[in-house]
Point group: C2
């Protein structure tokens, strides 16, 4: 794969506090390996309260610090034991769901050898999963599974073959006459086209919703949003055109000619998280003829005036975590509704600018899509 | 994804010497970033002679060693500069192609933050690519690309949904009446079902062969060979049955009912590298009714007696690197041919028990498959 990706900041500036409230409790010793660990690795571990515990071998190191921890206090400092292993537990319970992290060992940044890696912060970071009360909706279950396929599509505007992932729902290969609507779903700054399936578990969310009969099957497409060359603070000068060209003029026609899509505006949605929400807003405003469903997940809002000339606009969905600035989400949806639009807000309780917010947002959004 | 994978040793015990001959030359200062680096990362670098150069930040570390290096000399020890970065160059040129590696920092094993990760040695290792004189055959080119799709197939015998990757050739989704033969292609010990597409670039090898008209398109399937629970030395007690059940009784029927395959023995091949070759041999001997094409890549040999009752056996392909024990490959194919079998040997010049041998082996094997 060609890769020369590099970034941006979120519209809702994330709080890096990812601790739940009230950390004065006693720590329960029911730690189990994080489900995102590398095969056979015991650490990192998590307990039923949301604490995380780490254990890293580095017998001659002077300092090992985990980037997860109470905001402003420099993460979790590990302590060296006589066996050469460094161990430590977060000072408080973590928010439910997925967190990126890394280790700082003697001043250098490395990943935890026990954890699998996920692309975020423009690097492959370690990942840890804090069990969530609602984790069933993205669990791997014994239900029919859709496929996630890597496609390499030609992109004359950038002169390379670009990568996208396409989720095709269960049954796609059996009933070869049925055609499907498509959701184009974008990652955030520092991430890439792997984020929604790996961190977001979008394919499992869809499999489970379909198995429960809660949605009509549709296709999801993720590609790289070219976000990572954007520097913090450079948003005002952000030029959406290169990505808009790739998405609208290159990827969509490729998907429509290589998959059994319903290739019209009314059966096409665009959504994005964080920076991908900003891209969704920009592209839907520049090209109101392409999508009928718009969704911003922790990624800005629409004002009624923004979309006043949009024909065939079926839904605006706006969400965030309760630890972000949910009042913006709620107020903008109120205004949109007052102006006569079909707008829906969703606030993920107890989560911040992280993937649990976006997993839940997708779970809420999917049943609302393509219902007209 | 469920993962509780764990392993085995190769039949051809790999030499861990992966240096090319003659390291007394002057080092050319034409280093460029390895193509497998993380986006935007300058190091590790490689030069036109096959030397690799590393640069890792760890200002307070006492020791940083790269696992790549002259066999028996403990790899490449890096030297700390005043800027807090450790740097170093391999003592000699490396063999062409892909190499796994890791860092030992103050006694602990970590990955190089500049490199992407690849699953091998039952851990996600760093990967580096030494440019090869023949790298065009696995390069990403402007040709029609097939898709690589993750499937989750039900496995009653192991009580989970298991993962496989399926390569469907270009055109698979356009001409929806055409059916294809299938190659079941297995990874080695310490690896998993991601190896052939990530390290092996099997999809790009196929895309290029198809674009050049050198092969008729076929499907490739990779799944986890359950190899990683096997300890070194435990081969004699290896029980192939659990994996054989998954492959033959669960995966093949799933693929045949979910993809447009030609679902008979004459249009089905099995191949594997290293430990995957041992599995290929065991399964083809236990179930001579399932496959018509057998291929062992650095993974053992067949004797004429092994296959004497096999009906519809169309081809035996046996290969290895020239730095392994190619005489076994050549002699066994001679014997097979003398006994009247259609057998082909291939020796990859200048390579050892590594992925360049297996990329080249696939490139040689593919045109021989499904020709009857």
């Amino acid at each position: 794969m060609k890769k020369s990706f590099t970034f941006i900041t979120a519209l809702f500036l994330a709080t890096s506090l990812c601790f739940a409230q009230g950390s004065e409790q006693e720590i329960k010793e029911d730690f189990v390996p994080s489900v995102l660990n590398q095969p056979g690795k015991e650490y990192p571990m998590v307990n039923s309260q949301g604490y995380a515990r780490f254990k890293v071998e580095a017998p001659d190191a002077e300092s090992v610090v985990v980037s997860l921890g109470l905001g402003g206090q420099g993460g979790t400092k590990l302590t060296k034991g006589e066996d050469g292993f460094w161990t430590g537990t977060t000072a408080g319970p973590m928010d439910e769901g997925f967190h990126y992290y890394h280790l700082t060992i003697d001043g250098g940044v490395f990943n935890d050898p026990g954890a699998q890696n996920y692309y975020g912060s423009i690097r492959w970071e370690s990942g840890i999963e804090i069990p969530a009360h609602d984790q069933e909706f993205y669990a791997l279950k014994n239900v029919p599974h859709g496929n996630v396929q890597q496609i390499l599509f030609p992109s004359p505007s950038t002169d390379i073959s670009r990568r996208a992932f396409v989720y095709t729902p269960p049954g796609y290969y059996k009933n070869t006459s049925k055609r499907y609507p498509v959701l184009y779903l974008q990652h955030g700054w520092g991430e890439d086209e792997t984020a929604w399936m790996n961190q977001g578990r979008a394919n499992l969310i869809m499999d489970n919703l379909i198995a429960e009969g809660k949605i009509d099957p549709f296709i999801i497409v993720n590609t790289y949003g070219m976000t990572n060359e954007i520097k913090f603070g450079g948003l005002r000068n952000f030029d959406i055109k290169p990505f808009q060209t790739v998405l609208v003029d290159e990827l969509i026609p490729y998907v429509d000619s290589n998959f059994r899509t319903i290739a019209d505006q009314e059966h096409r949605a665009m959504a994005g998280l964080s920076m991908g929400g900003m891209e969704t807003k920009m592209i839907t405003l520049n090209r109101p003829d392409v999508f009928s469903y718009y969704a911003l997940l922790s990624g800005g809002v629409y004002a009624p005036d923004d979309v006043k000339d949009h024909e065939n606009l079926k839904l605006i969905f706006i969400s965030s975590g309760s630890k972000e600035r949910p009042e913006f989400v709620i107020n903008s949806v109120k205004e949109l509704k007052a102006a006569g639009y079909n707008a829906v807000s969703y606030v993920s309780e107890g989560t911040a600018h992280e993937f649990q917010t976006w997993r839940r947002s997708l779970y809420q959004l999917a049943p609302l899509l393509f219902q007209d």
